[in-house]
């Protein structure tokens, strides 16, 4: 009877500890430690002296976590020893559960764990970069033997494609500009009546400011405006309308429209990116937007003057309006690409900085 009770007690102790080792109170601090300290661990056979310090820190952490928990649940050290010396301990736990504890008593196990974590994190970083950018920045490929020549070749092609698309976009812009000049007379009306696309997009700006997935979409019309003031008269005006009435109900519909306008790929790609960047970015964006707004206001005034002039001179064929309504989506697409290009550049810069800093830290 007494023996049975004792066995139950032992079982309880073992199960309690095993449960603790699988719970967040254990795994979170352990994982945090590993993630913070794994950077210096490479899989060279020779160990660095710095590993020993980190190992001792780890031992202290494991000791503290275990002791605290034992105190908390009221298991004294004797009971713990007794429980874990019994055969039950083996059947109720597994190597996987115990690994993080065993690593505190076995330097080589600890080193293996840390090396693994380091590799894991490097791969994760590379995956995130790829997800964000579509391609890896030069600083991560040049001089590295991780990426094959084929992959490098692919990146060259991608870069070429991006360059070409930029060129095409510029040609298109020029073409439109000349067209626009011809269509100026009527454009005052066009601006006011131009319904769907641009306006929806801009209203979206008003109602979902800072919302992650849409961040890139609302920017595009304005971005375009800065580059070629003329035709962007339209979005600017719409922008004012949008913010002026701050049309909340239109928001949902607006999002849908905007998605249609700036087609799938763009918004899908940007979602994880902006999500990771957080609020800082949108603040910056807001500032930029304000600057652009001011700039565009000036431009608009100038344009109004030119328009008045041209209205007196030129007559426009009726087909222009049709054309104009079709052009915005096309334009936004390439704007999207432009925007992406810019962002990629920024990210590459950032990464370069980070990688260089990291290397410098490592060499010290």
């Amino acid at each position: 009877m007494a023996a049975e009770e004792e066995e139950g007690d032992v079982e309880w102790v073992v199960d309690t500890i095993a449960g603790f080792l699988q719970g967040p109170a254990w795994s979170i601090p352990i994982l945090e430690f590993m993630e913070q300290k794994c950077e210096v661990f490479d899989d060279e056979e020779e160990s660095k002296l710095s590993y020993t310090e980190i190992y001792q820190e780890y031992q202290a952490l494991v000791e503290r976590l275990l002791e605290d928990h034992l105190k908390e649940v009221g298991i004294n050290e004797e009971k713990f020893q007794e429980a874990f010396s019994s055969p039950l301990a083996k059947t109720h736990t597994s190597q996987a559960i115990l690994q993080t504890v065993l690593a505190a008593e076995d330097f080589r196990l600890f080193k293996t764990m840390m090396v693994q974590k380091n590799i894991e994190m490097q791969l994760q970083a590379i995956r995130i970069i790829k997800e964000r950018n579509g391609v890896l920045p030069d600083c991560l490929t040049e001089g590295s033997d991780v990426f094959s020549e084929i992959e490098q070749e692919e990146m060259k092609i991608l870069r070429e494609v991006l360059r070409k698309s930029k060129e095409e976009y510029e040609i298109e812009q020029d073409r439109k500009r000349t067209e626009e000049a011809r269509g100026k007379v009527k454009s005052a009306d066009v601006t006011c009546s131009s319904p769907g696309d641009s306006r929806a997009t801009v209203q979206l700006k008003g109602s979902t400011e800072g919302a992650d997935p849409a961040q890139e979409a609302p920017k595009t019309p304005l971005e375009g405006s800065r580059k070629s003031g003329r035709e962007d008269l339209k979005p600017v005006r719409a922008f004012h309308k949008g913010t002026g009435s701050s049309a909340q109900p239109a928001g949902a519909r607006g999002t849908e429209d905007a998605r249609k306008t700036a087609p799938g790929k763009g918004s899908a790609n940007t979602a994880p990116k902006t999500g990771l960047k957080g609020p800082n970015f949108s603040e910056l964006e807001e500032q930029e937007l304000k600057q652009r707004e001011d700039y565009l206001k000036k431009k608009r005034d100038l344009l109004m003057a030119t328009k008045k002039e041209s209205r007196n001179n030129v007559l426009v064929p009726p087909t222009t309006e049709q054309k104009k309504e079709e052009s915005p989506p096309k334009e936004e697409m390439s704007e999207e690409k432009q925007k992406l290009l810019q962002k990629r550049k920024m990210l590459a810069e950032k990464l370069k900085e980070e990688v260089i800093n990291k290397r410098m830290l490592e060499t010290h």
Binding site: E45, S47, L49, L66, E67, F84, S85, D106, F107
Partner: protein, 187 residues
């Protein structure tokens, strides 16, 4: 490390299911004495491409039913202050000497004397390998023992063994002495 932790963790350590008893051996000596070569020799590994150790190496050697975890720590002057960090719970100390480097006999003797004064090594058996006996300029083990004043080491078991880590000669004799020490201690 406190004793409490030793208690907690060593209990869990037993669950690793290792049938052999593990022993900790620390391998020290000046730079270029041949510590890493000796370590590789013990582990029956290739000894041709060895560079100066900046950190440390660990290898396990199975001997007479024991698992000997041998720690080889770099011997350059700048690293020597770190030695003491590795001395805790050491079961046996191996000290390696370049028998052909007569100019540094005094230096290596001083290092050894300081080492053996460390509290962590009190009573720990000491095996000195008079290495590089393959070189013609190598001093014989007896001469080195005298130079080190090994006869003054009274509070511990010690042994000096001539060897060549490169050819492996004499290394096994040293290991046999280690085994006998372990067996004696067990009794």
């Amino acid at each position: 490390m406190g004793d409490a932790q030793k208690g907690l963790l060593s209990v869990i350590q037993k669950l690793k299911g290792a049938p052999e008893q593990e022993l900790r051996i620390v391998l020290l000596g000046l730079d270029n004495a041949g510590k890493t070569t000796l370590l590789k020799c013990l582990a029956s590994e290739e000894v041709s491409t060895i560079t100066p150790t900046q950190g440390f190496n660990i290898k396990s050697v199975h001997s007479h039913g024991f698992k000997l975890n041998v720690w080889d720590i770099g011997g350059q002057r700048s690293i020597r202050p770190y030695w003491r960090k590795y001395l805790g719970s050491t079961d046996l100390l191996i000290y390696v000497i370049d028998s052909a480097d007569q100019k540094r006999f005094e230096e290596t003797g001083q290092e050894l004397a300081e080492l053996t004064e460390d509290d962590s090594l009190t009573g720990v058996p000491l095996l000195v390998f008079a290495n590089k006996q393959d070189l013609v300029t190598a001093a014989p083990a007896a001469e080195i023992a005298e130079g080190l004043s090994l006869h003054t080491y009274r509070d511990r078991e010690w042994q000096i063994q001539a060897c060549s880590a490169l050819s492996g000669e004499g290394v096994q004799d040293g290991m046999n002495w280690i085994s006998s020490q372990i067996m004696n201690r067990k009794k």
